[in-house]
Structures are given as C-alpha cells and as structure tokens.
Symmetry: C2
Subunit: 338 residues, 2 copies
C-alpha cells in the first residue's frame, strides 16, 4: 500500500465534490490500486488553512458547515504559497477560482508546487489555457507530473484519451461541443424558445451563471481550444489571439433554417494543424444530423478527433458538475500514482 | 532511441495493414516516442516464414506479391512455435485467423510467447474472449504485457479507455454496438430494405462475409461481451454460456414499429455486475433516439459506459478495417514501450 498526501488549494464547489468523491472511492482505490489517498492540507482565500499531516477526516469534512467545526486539525497561519512549501504533501490539487485573463493566482500556485517538487493536478482552465506549455515543461524539468484532465469536458477523459491513446494514430484535427451552457441554450431554442427565454431557462436550471457572458460569448470554449492546441499540437494561441464568437447572435429563424437543411446549430471549438500552421476556430456551426455531434443535446459535451489511421472518433460525456470534475482529479491522481 | 523487434504471426489482411500503418508512422514514432520498431520475423500457416534479425524492409514488403520476391531475408524452416522460440523478437503480434470455439491455435501461440518472455499484442478475438483472464495472469506472472486493444472496436481505443481512464470513476455497466455488419444491415433496413436485401448490400460493399452467420447470429458480439466482462469485471463467461441472439429475426415491420416509437433497433451487447453476479446480454434492442447509440449508423461501432461519478460516457468510432485494426496494434505497442 502506498500513501499519497494531498494538499488542496481552494475549497469551493469542486473542492467539496472532490472530498465527497474521494471519500466514496477510498476503499476501492486501496483494493484495486493499493493506493491510500489522504488530504493533509486545505488552504482557501477567505477561510484560512486546515492541516493534519496524518490526514484530515473526510467524513468530518463532509458534515461540518465550516472549517471552525473540524476537531482534529491544526490551523496554521499559511497562505497558499506557504502551505505548498511547508505542508507534508506529495501532490497539490489546484482548484482555486479560474481566471482566463492572466491565469493568476493559479499560475503562481502551480509554479510554486512544481518548483517544490510536488506533482500537480488541476481542473483550473485559466492557467492551463494560457500557460500549459510553459508549466508542463517546467514540470518535466523538475521530474514531476502535471495532470490537467479536468480542464476540458470535466471527468470525461477527453485529454488523456487523445494524448495517451489516439496519438499514435496521428491526430490531424479536433472539434467539439465544449460548453454545456451554450449547448443547453441551443437545445432549448430547438424547442421554439428565443435566445433570451432559453438563457433564462439555463439560469433557472443552474446551467448558466448570473453573468453568463464567459459562456455565451465563447471565451470558455476558446480557453478549451487553447488547451487542446497546446496539448495535441504543441502550439500556443491565447483566446484573445484566436478570436471567438459565441451564440448570442443565433435567432429562432437561424434554428429553423438549419432544421430545413437537416442540421443543428452547435457552438464548435476546433483546432487543426495545416502545413505547420495552427488553425483555431470558435463559432456557431450548422452541423449535419449525420454527424454524431449534431445529436449531442442539452448540457452534454462532446469531442471529435480526426486521425490518419482511424478516421473520426467521437467521445460524448458530461462537461461540468462537481462530482464529474472531481472524477477528473481522481483520474489524474490514479494515473500518476498507479 | 529504443529498438523494438517485432515477430508477426499471421499475414492476412490485418498483417498487411499493420505493415502499411507501421511504415507510414515509423518516423513519427522515432521522433515523438524515441521508439524504433522493426519487424524481424513473419510466420504464416501456408507461406512459411521470413526472417531478418536487423529488420525486414517494410517498403519491400509492401511492393512484393509474395514472400518469395523478398530480397534480404532468411527463410528458416520454422513453424509458429519455433519462430516464437528462436527469432530475435521483443514482442509477438498475434494476428492469425480467429476461432471463437476454442481460441486455437492462437491460445497456444500467445502462451508460448508469454512463457518465452515476450510481450504480446493481438487483435485476435477468439483467444481473448475465451481465455483473457488466464492469459493475462500468465503474462503478469511472467512480467510481460498482453495488449488486446484491437479485439473490440478495432483501433477505437475502447478497452484502454475503460481500464486506464474511466476505471477510477467506477464502471457499473457497459453496452455497445459492437458489430459493424449488423449495424450496417439494420441501417439499410431503415431505408426500407428487407433483411435479405440489406444483407446482400452488406456483402456487396464488403461489410459481410460470404458466410455471414458469425456476425448476424450474434456470436461475434458475444465474443466481445466476453472480453469486456473479463477486462472490466474480472468475470469469465463464454459466448456459449451467455447465450446470444442476432438480428436475423428483425423484420421490416419491426423497423417501422420502432420508428413510430422514436426508437431504432440496434444489436446491443451488454454486461453489468449486480451484487457480485455478472449479467450479460446480446440481442436486438429498441434504443430511444435520445440515446447517442441510436444515432450510430452504418458500419460504425459505439460503446457506452455507465459510471458512478460521471454517469454515462459514449465512445463512437470504427469497429473494423485493416488500417483501423493495425492502429490498435500500434496503440498497444506504443503504450507498452513508451
């Protein structure tokens, strides 16, 4: 049995899902992989830091309303950087809130963890969209691993699927439905709703935030295309550099016109390499119903890889959710330590 | 750069595809993985054996009509077992013709390779459907690897996807469209053809063999379910034990009835574990159009995993073809040696 000590940075929705999922699977991982995961430290922006080098009780974490109620922890006066430097941890799970403008403060956290010799697992899009190439080569230089599965399609293993399994078949292009909010809105519009009515539905069901601009204007999808571009084609292009168009311009008439042509509108993010040039695109496209992407409805996501040897392969699965994102973090942890 | 010497058992359609695909990707694998693959030996049932411990020229293999025309090879008097024992190889690629009754002679070949300390990569369903558990534990005991990606969905990486990536999320059930011939026939019947007309089309387009019984009566799908059952749930059930039903009983009326209920008939192979009991099924099912499986048409295959943490994840891709099956063998080789 191998013990793995985890330090967690950020404790919002994903953090709570991570504790819940890890608690649910702890015995399974002991049995199947002989891996014993402990959370030894959690550091937050506003609620301080809790620490127990022998492992914080997950059961207790799941029942308390605040860190103040935890019985068996120290409360060191650490900020994130000092937690990374001083807590007993093997791996840092970086799940602080995301920032697609400059990636901070997560870039700083991930750099510090790598330089401290820790593996890093993250579902945080911002730092990876903007700096994956730099961070991954820093990790390689420091002989640690950087797991980023949760940054695209949450726990649906779209990234390791491409990089570990499809890559030998020669990936030539990638396209996908990478934002569940937009796909939910477009699916509602298929039922006859206007864009604004569909957006209101999405907000009601919790698929869209109060300020939905990052989703519906395409920035979130562009961030994911930036990640795919670096991971698959080793080329960096920021969302600002690639330009992107969201779904706010799609009208009921557009939807009906697509229907007549046996198509559906989908917000498609894509990247391909043509003669050493990277070509990215984020915009609504009319997808023929014969393409599996056209039949991916509601908040579901999908990604489609075109390969030399295999032709087209499509992966459909959830793209968000606390347990789904937690699953991605656990997949990375298992892959690193098994 | 690491050199890997490959011995090939069987040289039919898949063998030729393997040589073509490997030739196409040799430089890519050198550059990306620092792996240099050579084929040092090929042994066949009826055309003898060719051998060059420094590597047989792939370019030449692709142009000659028979082994007799090869210029730079030895022609030792080896059968398969003596090739495995005596040729300089690191890994045996077993692609002799399949046998879903007792798996022979491939079981014998794979056993001998494992006992000789060679890794094994195969797309041969028979031995894996009937004896994966035994062969894999023999491989573990002998510290060699057994790659079986090509036995289900050809190069679409459905098996490593499940075992390496989804497994930590807790797979509870698997179902899929695992036979392209049946799916092609059912798709043709959607256009109004009778079963016999659709079968004739399938034969015309090369999707069905002259004797199509193994496909249309469900045995091929049952073999794949047997593989999934062993790989995912560690439970063995032979096709004969599980029982199976093909698509020969599906009528034009059945197709129309399904259409009225917003469904499509698909030959579904499935396996799940309920309270330590394995439940397998191979039979035509009416799949609602809202399920991604219903929209997988023609000769395309698909597999759907249900998981604890992620819910449903669907993978759609090719399930047959010489280059597609070759891709699976290459994926296994890269995974083993990278």
């Amino acid at each position: 049995m191998k013990n793995v000590k985890i330090g967690v940075v950020g404790y919002g929705n994903v953090g709570k899902g991570f504790v819940q999922a890890l608690n649910q699977k702890t015995d399974f991982y002991r049995k199947i992989y002989q891996l014993n995961f402990f959370i030894t430290a959690i550091v937050t922006k506003n609620n301080g830091c809790v620490y127990n080098p022998n492992g914080i009780s997950l059961d207790e974490l799941l029942t308390v309303n605040s860190f103040a109620e935890l019985s068996d922890v120290e409360r060191p006066d650490w900020n994130t950087i000092s937690m990374i430097q001083q807590a007993e941890t093997d791996v840092i799970v970086e799940i602080s809130s995301t920032n697609l403008i400059n990636g901070e403060p997560a870039v700083l956290h991930i750099r510090e963890a790598i330089l401290s010799g820790k593996n890093v697992v993250t579902s945080n899009k911002g730092p990876i969209a903007l700096h994956y190439k730099m961070l991954n080569s820093l990790a390689n230089q420091n002989n640690v691993k950087l797991g980023i599965e949760g940054t695209v399609m949450s726990g649906t293993p779209s990234l390791r699927f491409a990089k570990d399994l499809l890559f030998p078949s020669g990936i030539t292009s990638v396209r996908g439905i990478l934002n569940g909010t937009c796909n939910f809105i477009l699916t509602e519009m298929e039922k006859g709703l206007s864009f604004n009515e569909a957006l209101a539905h999405a907000q009601e069901f919790g698929y869209a935030e109060t300020d939905p601009s990052g989703d519906i204007e395409g920035l979130d999808t562009a961030g994911k295309v930036a990640i795919l571009s670096q991971l698959i084609f080793d080329e960096k292009q920021t969302p600002a550099e690639m330009g992107y168009e969201g779904i706010t311009g799609i009208t009921v008439e557009d939807i009906q016109m697509a229907k007549k042509e046996n198509c559906r509108w989908k917000l498609i993010g894509s990247v391909k390499k043509v003669q050493n040039h990277i070509i990215t695109s984020v915009k609504p496209e009319m997808v023929p119903l014969s393409n599996p992407l056209a039949n991916v409805n509601g908040s579901m996501n999908a990604i489609q890889y075109e390969t030399d040897l295999l032709g087209m392969v499509t992966l459909i699965g959830p793209g968000a959710g606390r347990m789904e994102t937690a699953a991605a973090l656990l997949e990375d942890l298992i892959t690193i330590y098994k």
